[in-house]
Symmetry: D2
Subunit: 386 residues, 4 copies
């Protein structure tokens, strides 16, 4: 039984990173707030003391729980009677591992942004360090929180497509198509290999595409060939990746991610084809899931519309026809985490159906990025994932 | 200056209606929570004491602020030092007016679901009663909270379409196409003219369609001809309305709302055509706004994409390509209300740009429903709005 | 048995109207040519002798079968051993009736563009004149030639929607949204009530919308209320019509046609809703037919895709996924006419399934236009069709 | 000046292949007929004499110009005073080269289906044999005949995208996803490497995808890596190809073609991204061309809509909003051929703008297929095109 047993009320959440101006920190806070199951009570939102203080005040933190140093935060919160039960890590990628370790070792659950780390080496060490940890590790591969993504996975698990033959996944964007603007904080650290880590587009959005395909199909990747490019002027990391995929069991696939494809905002799209049918889902209109059983009319499944299973149903908040989006899907990861954390309080298992990306998913994502880079360094030759 | 002047922190919100099983109450709570600007601290979620207690506990209300009688709630909260500053009214329609009056007269702001009342008479009395009230009245015509709806309005205000000629608006659903299920609470009270009031589809979704057209175009309706039907077996209120519209200044329009149109979930769609161009927006994919300037290529505007103005920008939370939906739009009404309420605390005006539907909009909606019914009773003859 | 019995080879076709610069004449010629079943061998393409000669030569007519006077053409062709078996009439609307009568009375089949005539009175006289005529009369309401329109009709005939409740049909265009250009021949005669007849938009495209709804649903129109407008500067005929429809048996509907709706090219769209499901078809992407059975996932039927019946199959020329369009649909009317004419040569019935719009459909179209105008003249009051 | 100089009237066309039951032969005949510029006057529609006779009669050929042997046909037609001026070759792929050579050497123009030949070796020999031939060679890569494909090419030529960075092209189908049916003539010869030649999907549809990308972008392919599969039970040729592309100048791309992707009919789709913008076109709705200039609203260009250039305009037959499809695009290849042949009659150059795929395009297509197979045989390693 956890040290948090018997506790009630909203889960006390801390945050590391996510100070003023950061995009993903604000998203995590909305996601945590949406269902009323978390309360943000502490934070080291910046490593700059003044910015940490201002950012903490802006989100209503008590003065004595505003930190500028995540180690101090972990130490003190770990000792407080009503210290945080979980921490959201929304720093640049290279800080994920050191921050996570500080909290995990104190039994504080970690909800960490992706990709898992900046390098595969760090990821492996983190996985090792987490072995035996009592606390949970939740990786916010948020696209797995979309109801229709769950529906797609459930249909494939149930055999609706038969044996899978082909997987096509892509994630095009255009925000780096123009020369990098000096004042774009998001673009800036993501363009710095020291902070964003291995892979530019590959790490930032390629991991999302890869994770989505992996989550929905359940297929294991054996090898890949990857052609990386940095088209943008002044780009220090890749901004376009073309990848061919070979899965265990004989399925084949392609993955394309790009940050230089004008006209695309967040064009994540997955298509899966099996012996008996196909599925297609696109993030920009996440309500819709195309199911194309071979030899039958095409069917457009909609969130909470006819034909939905319980896996999608349990993650929706509004009736069919009222679109839910990115924030709701992100909040679903938090909702799943909350279910697991609340069960953990009393030492029980998370309820059936509760699903979220874990350290293992994060490690596989880093192995994917690592393989992309190794392949690219060999002039896009085929490389094994391991 | 309001009695709430100098207060800080989240706005203390109460709720009347919205007990377990109610759809719209849960939506209001998520909307209130999303940006952390409200805190629900009191409620009369049901008029049945036990249900009120259970529902109150389920959403974490303190025991002493759970009520089963809205009058008691208004009296006590009005006297408490940290009593509620605002109340969300999410009861069946016929209760909106009596509840609102109790709170308004105590200077407690009202955030009320639509339609304003069950009858036009009630609406007129409520408007009269509210004259001189210090408190704000916010009607949750939530579709006006979508960023691209604001964008559409701003473009029309700026003359992008020239003089408007034609307005086509529709709101088809299919949830009442099958014979009414006895156990559907939503369907049940909406099918009871005593509680849902004038108009079935007309009041429930026709008012949304009408309000959307009114909000975006700014046009005043002069007369209409309306053919009402109750196609559903056992239906006591209308479930389909065909309406022809004549606006001041010569523009013409059509409005169709239906609850018996298989294949439609919440198919609210507005199209406006002027001398210089057209606009089209549909609620089920609210990210997109089509702008078709005459003689130029069609343009697809997207939330936070190129060409957005500040009116849309200020109501978004995520980057372009990350879909925002119904809950975010609903939360935008609350966000606008919060801006106004916070300004009101210090006796100042709401910041420029803050916009929300008011009593006047609610009254116009009821006048629309009333005219539809009057016309229908005259075999769909033309009737004036006034 | 017809005078043309025992004849073989392509059907000998004449044409009246359709000289250089005319849009619809060229379309008829392509349609006639597509399947090799007709050969254009004579024509009075213009009433101006020189233009008739040049236009006739341009399409390869023999000199001695170029006419500038349709009466002479009818007389001579009726006497020739290898005279035309059928004539395509593609003149302005007010000439349809006089031309048709000349050919019909000589046993020459008529393939006539729509609307049937310029006035309801002419239409009635033509119907009367044609009574007892041996020759066929084919009205090119070409949208009934689209395979998916046939599919929709077949599904409704087979009861896939159950009893029909609501019909929504529209035909918006934008080509008259700008002030009429003096040099647009199409716009010019259509803007002249003497030549285009009753109804501007109503006659030109409203008849198409009406005919499509009539053809697919089989419903009879009992009464309507119509609000006509002429928004375009200098417009002498209506360019926008809003119409509410009441069908025999209780179904209701709306029809909108407009030539001043920026962004629309030929936006003909039909939606039909019954007790058991809905159908939607739009001319601009005619491959697709949405079928939404109540309570089941939406289905997208495609031309020659799974689920197509023989009524659609017999009118397609290419495999699924190879789009067929306007010209193929138009050619289907000619193909149906050819089947009927060839059967007529030997005095037999047209094969089962052969379907094309007739004089009766044309008459109903004119009754629709007439009712629109009568209603509009009474300030858009309800009028009976008869 | 050609031996056909001074001739007038429709171009006399012969056909080799395309007997009863053949798909593509019928398409060629409709394409030839659509504009009235060709007349089919001779044919060897089958190598089986009886079938040749029946098929020839069915399309109305004179008895003395029905052949069952293409060599006899070439010899006799080459000697006739009114012999054919051009021949359409619609045989299985391995017969293209021998047939073409017989006609080319007699100065008879060749309009040949794609891919050019069954093997790269045959293609090279045919190109060599054709050197110095007076007659034209037109390869029916029909997708280049779509107006919006011409528009895309013209925009790229004019620099609308700036320097091209990424090309994504795909052609998924599903007709071979189920086990091959024994009675499908199309499937049967295409599954026989002797007759269909190198490449199954690669040759049949991969060449289309490749040709489309090549035509629109003008980019030269330097190397590729290709992973071929034969997923279908009993499949002897590839039915899925994943290809990574490297172009001269640094652009990169991906090509996917598949015949086992359930839900796809003829899903040819091209996306091109440059420094300044993107373009997207899909064959199944060929009216639309998306143009996404970086930093500006997305624009949907439509056939004959605003913003079209003369390259697209000259290849359309109907107004905007009346969809044109596969047959019209195919007929455009014939129309272009007709322009060139008619100019050739008088020894002049084809008019400016006339464009059609040639032997060189066919050779490049075969080089693409050959490279795919070479790569696949090396476990999908990178190979140079040459």
């Amino acid at each position: 039984m956890s040290k948090f047993a018997r506790r009630e009320g909203p889960i006390r959440l801390g945050m590391v990173g996510g100070g003023a101006g950061a995009f993903i920190g604000a998203v995590h806070r909305i996601a945590a707030r949406m269902d009323g199951k978390f309360q943000v009570v502490a934070g080291a939102l910046s490593s700059t003391p003044e910015k940490a203080r201002e950012s903490g005040r802006a989100i209503g933190l008590p003065e004595d729980r505003i930190y500028s140093d995540f180690t101090s935060m972990a130490q003190r919160e770990g000792r407080l009677g009503d210290g945080i039960e979980a921490v959201a890590i929304v720093t640049p990628n290279h800080m994920h591992a050191p921050v996570a370790r500080e909290f995990l070792k104190r039994g504080i659950h970690v909800i960490c942004d992706k990709p898992l780390t900046a390098t595969l080496g760090e990821a492996k060490k983190l996985v090792k360090a987490a072995e035996g940890a009592e606390a949970l590790f939740v990786l916010t591969h948020n696209y797995t929180g979309y109801p229709m993504v769950r529906q797609a996975k459930a249909m494939i698990d149930a055999g609706a497509l038969g044996r899978i033959r082909v997987v096509q996944v892509e994630y095009p964007q255009d925000w780096l198509a123009a020369p990098a603007a000096a004042d774009n904080k998001q673009a800036e650290w993501r363009n710095d290999p020291e902070r964003s880590g291995m892979g530019g587009a590959t790490g930032d959005i390629g991991t999302h595409a890869w994770n989505l395909a992996r989550f929905v199909t359940g297929l294991e990747l054996e090898s890949l060939a990857c052609d990386l490019d940095s088209f943008g002027e002044g780009r220090r990391t890749d901004d376009n990746a073309h990848v061919m995929l070979r899965f265990a069991g004989g399925a084949k696939g392609m993955l394309w991610c790009s940050q230089v494809a004008p006209g695309h905002e967040n064009g994540l799209r997955l298509r899966v084809y099996g012996e008996k049918g196909g599925l297609e889902w696109a993030q920009e209109n996440p309500t819709n899931l195309w199911f194309t059983p071979l030899g039958e009319p095409k069917r457009l499944l909609t969130r909470r519309g006819p034909g939905m299973g319980p896996e999608a149903e349990r993650l929706t908040r509004t009736p069919a026809g009222h679109p839910e989006g990115f924030l709701e899907a992100f909040a679903n990861i938090y909702a799943e985490a909350a279910e697991a954390i609340i069960a953990h309080r009393s030492g029980s298992e998370a309820p059936a159906g509760v699903t979220f990306p874990t350290l293992q998913d994060g490690l596989e994502g880093m192995m994917f990025v690592d393989a992309c880079i190794r392949s690219s360094q060999k002039d896009a030759a085929w490389v094994s994932l391991k």
